[in-house]
């Protein structure tokens, strides 16, 4: 390998001094960040156990709810929400699609899945709380433990939506954003307050009969967020949604619709947790996003469902000319996840990026990936998918890149990296490519690596203990994703990965 000259002595003295200053500032900054990070990590690690969100609250509403889905249940949900006829019609069409569509026979194992095992509508409160203090004490306590009111108080977020079972029980947005016309409320309320807007976009990105679970969601949906960002408005600090399942055998079907009008920007962050039960729960969300001309939306998920939750989610964005869509997806928990955030690049120069990290531990199957559909010239897409498998966990990247005839100058790049921590785990890659245009550039790269003996030895030979060395290697592996997350989520991701890694060092 050629020796690269990094000698700065040849450059002018001024540049050299400037470089020194830059260096010292940089190093000082990094040290501070490191110091803070180490402190925070220690604190967080000392506070939590294995799966740290496994508690549950008292549960009258959940116990009273009945299991199973039927047309009658769909009508009851709609009636309870006092919905207009057009929404009931969507629900019924969704229910029909759910019955008609086949169960996926690929991806995760759904043999043990029976739609009649879940509770479809659990209403924990009669009406949304105006403040955290209005919530029943144990529910409030749950959110305190999750740190949500704290984040709101510290203004780490621009708005908060907290969904508990089927309902959004608390929703707030900063006054100044409200004054600029930003709408952030639960989708049920949006149907009542902004029926025209909802009607205009609902099911336009994810059709009623898109797939079995999108049909089920359309039939039984409840809660989720409705976001509208007016032309040119930049929501600089993220909007945060927090999804919590409390009752056993719960089916949570939130429906989220985000519309970013021309030239606007918004970052929406969602987190998900549930108690540990022996009965399985189901999370089947639908997320539809419309990115208007030159707008930009980032949607970040840190999913940490307990290992008894089926996570079968449909997420899709429709991106118009010059628009940018970014999915940042962390799948750490759940029993089985099937989730392939999609972008339809419909206008010229539209851009999309999916950055995902999946963690498959014991008994987990993370079947995740991305879809990029290029319909217009000069559209570009990037997929970076990383997975870590351990203790016989299984992860798969399943992706589709489609470029239609006429999408000249389209560009696509796919990178899949899998890290296997032991000899019993499994990782698969299913990249589908469908290109009908000649004038395109494409790149695909896939690696599978094991935490190597040599890497561990190198770090250990510098005095670093085996466990910490393993942690550093894994943290380094997820770093390209974790650096995209808001700080508290990045810490959360690192911490989760570390807890998951515990005991993996023989």
């Amino acid at each position: 390998m050629a020796e690269k000259t990094t000698d700065s002595s040849a450059s002018a003295a001024g540049t050299k001094q400037a470089a020194d200053v830059e260096m010292s500032q940089y190093v000082a900054d990094r040290e501070r960040v490191n110091e803070d990070k180490i402190k925070q990590d220690d604190k967080i690690i000392s506070e939590f156990g294995e799966y740290s969100y496994g508690w549950h609250d008292s549960d009258a509403a959940g116990e009273a709810a009945k299991k199973g889905i039927s047309e009658e249940v769909v009508r009851e949900i709609s009636a309870d929400k006092h919905e207009p006829q057009w929404m009931l019609d969507y629900r019924l069409a969704g229910y029909k699609a759910f019955l008609d569509k086949p169960m996926p026979d690929w991806g995760v194992d759904l043999k043990g899945f029976n739609a009649q095992d879940f509770k479809y509508y659990v209403k924990p409160l009669d009406k949304q709380a105006k403040s955290w203090d209005d919530l029943p004490p144990d529910i409030k306590n749950t959110y305190d433990r999750l740190g949500i009111p704290e984040a709101e108080k510290k203004r780490l977020v621009s708005g908060v939506a907290a969904q508990y079972e089927s309902e959004v029980i608390y929703n707030s947005i900063r006054e100044d954003l409200k004054a600029q016309g930003v709408i952030f409320l639960d989708t049920d309320a949006a149907v009542q307050q902004y029926p025209d807007l909802v009607k205009k976009y609902f099911t336009t990105v994810v059709p009623v009969d898109d797939n079995k679970f999108a049909g089920l969601n359309t039939a039984a949906w409840s809660g989720g967020s409705f976001v509208y960002v007016p032309k040119g408005v930049h929501v600089e600090i993220p909007l945060q949604a927090y999804f919590r399942i409390n009752t056993p055998a719960m089916g949570q079907f939130e429906r989220t619709l985000i519309i970013a009008d021309e030239g606007s920007y918004v970052h929406y962050v969602e987190g998900c947790t549930a108690p540990i039960y022996s009965q399985d729960s189901l999370h089947a969300a639908v997320v539809e996003i419309v990115v208007e001309k030159n707008a930009r939306v980032r949607y970040t998920t840190v999913q940490n469902w307990s290992n008894n939750v089926y996570n079968l989610v449909t997420q899709r964005a429709y991106v118009k000319e010059g628009g940018t869509m970014e999915w940042v997806d962390g799948n750490i928990g759940s029993k089985a996840t099937m989730k392939y955030p999609a972008c339809i690049l419909a206008g010229p120069y539209a851009k999309a990026e999916t950055m995902s990290i999946g963690f498959a531990g014991k008994g987990q199957y993370q079947d995740t990936g991305a879809k990029m559909i290029h319909l217009a010239p000069h559209t570009s897409s990037t997929i970076v998918a990383k997975s870590i498998s351990k203790d016989a966990g299984r992860s798969a990247y399943r992706g589709l890149v489609k470029i239609v005839k006429g999408a000249e100058g389209a560009h696509s790049s796919v990178v899949c990296d899998a890290l296997l921590v032991d000899d019993y785990s499994r990782s698969d890659t299913y990249p589908h490519v469908d290109v009908r245009e000649d004038d395109v550039t494409m790149a695909h790269e896939a690696t599978v690596s094991k935490v190597s003996e040599d890497q561990l030895f190198y770090l250990m030979s510098r005095g670093i203990e085996e466990k910490e060395a393993m942690g550093m290697i894994v943290r380094g592996f997820v770093e390209p994703i974790s650096k995209l997350l808001p700080m508290e989520y990045a810490l959360e991701l690192n911490r989760l990965v570390e807890l998951q890694m515990e005991g993996s060092v023989g």
Partner: protein, 260 residues
């Protein structure tokens, strides 16, 4: 303070496809603080194995013998404990660790080796100073450990760690390999500076005499077929330069036959 590293009748083996193979066949060596020992030998003689066995690479199995650092047997310790005891190995092929920044890595290592976090002010100064002297670009600190480093950058990064971690004994495994003349000089000066500051003992494993012009050995050993077979002063290196290793090889093999 004076420290001693004593290697006593060390035997070590490695598992290969053809079965277990003994590579170290009774190594004896004593090194004191401040001494520089050159360990020279033909390819495949086991000199790198000696380096890795002392540092505790799991690939090499110790069959018998001791390696005492001030009386404590390194061979009973994990690699991180050996580092904490004061041993450092500058590797011939440093490993890439993507996503872990050099600063984070160096600081974690320093904290572990010292048992406490270094004072920030002096740490930054030390790091900056050492990097500057090794002619390393400040941006180096932000890069991932060894990732995408050129051969020369990797070696400088090893010497940077040597300077910062201040061990009692340093093993330099073919630190000269793959370096051009300028890089060799910079790296050697780094080693000499570190030694001047900390007076550690050096075991310098090398195939060529070139590096000995920059890092002057007090003692030169010839290592062949898994053990030391000759020991002398610096003049032994000159002799090797003249005659090569042929005389130390078993009948019928040539100096380029590589076992490992």
């Amino acid at each position: 303070m004076q420290h001693t590293l004593e290697i006593k009748d060390l035997h070590a083996a490695v598992e290969t496809k053809e079965g277990r193979k003994e590579i170290l066949k009774g190594v004896n060596l004593t090194v004191h603080s401040g001494e520089t020992h050159a360990i020279m030998g033909p390819n495949g003689s086991g000199k790198s194995t000696l380096a890795y066995t002392l540092a505790g690479h799991p690939k090499y199995e110790v069959e018998s013998g001791q390696a005492l650092l001030d009386g404590e047997d390194l061979l009973k310790m994990k690699p991180d404990e050996r580092a904490k005891a004061g041993l450092f190995l500058a590797m011939q092929y440093p490993v890439e660790v993507p996503g872990v920044s050099m600063t984070n890595f160096l600081r974690t290592a320093k904290t572990e080796v010292d048992g406490k976090a270094p004072a920030i002010r002096s740490w930054v100064k030390d790091l900056q100073g050492s990097m500057k002297k090794l002619r390393m670009d400040p941006k180096f600190a932000q890069r991932s450990v060894n990732e995408g480093f050129s051969g020369g950058e990797k070696k400088r990064a090893e010497v940077l760690q040597l300077e910062l971690l201040k061990p009692k004994f340093a093993i330099l495994d073919e630190t000269d390999s793959g370096l051009d003349v300028d890089a060799l000089r910079i790296v050697s000066e780094g080693v000499n500076r570190a030694k001047e500051d900390n007076d550690f003992g050096i075991l310098m494993v090398t195939h060529y005499t070139r590096i000995l012009r920059y890092i002057k050995p007090d003692i030169v050993h010839v290592f062949a077929d898994g053990r030391f077979i000759k020991t002398g002063g610096p003049e032994l290196a000159d002799e090797l330069e003249e005659t090569g290793y042929d005389q130390y090889l078993p009948e019928g093999s040539d100096s380029e036959s590589a076992l490992a």
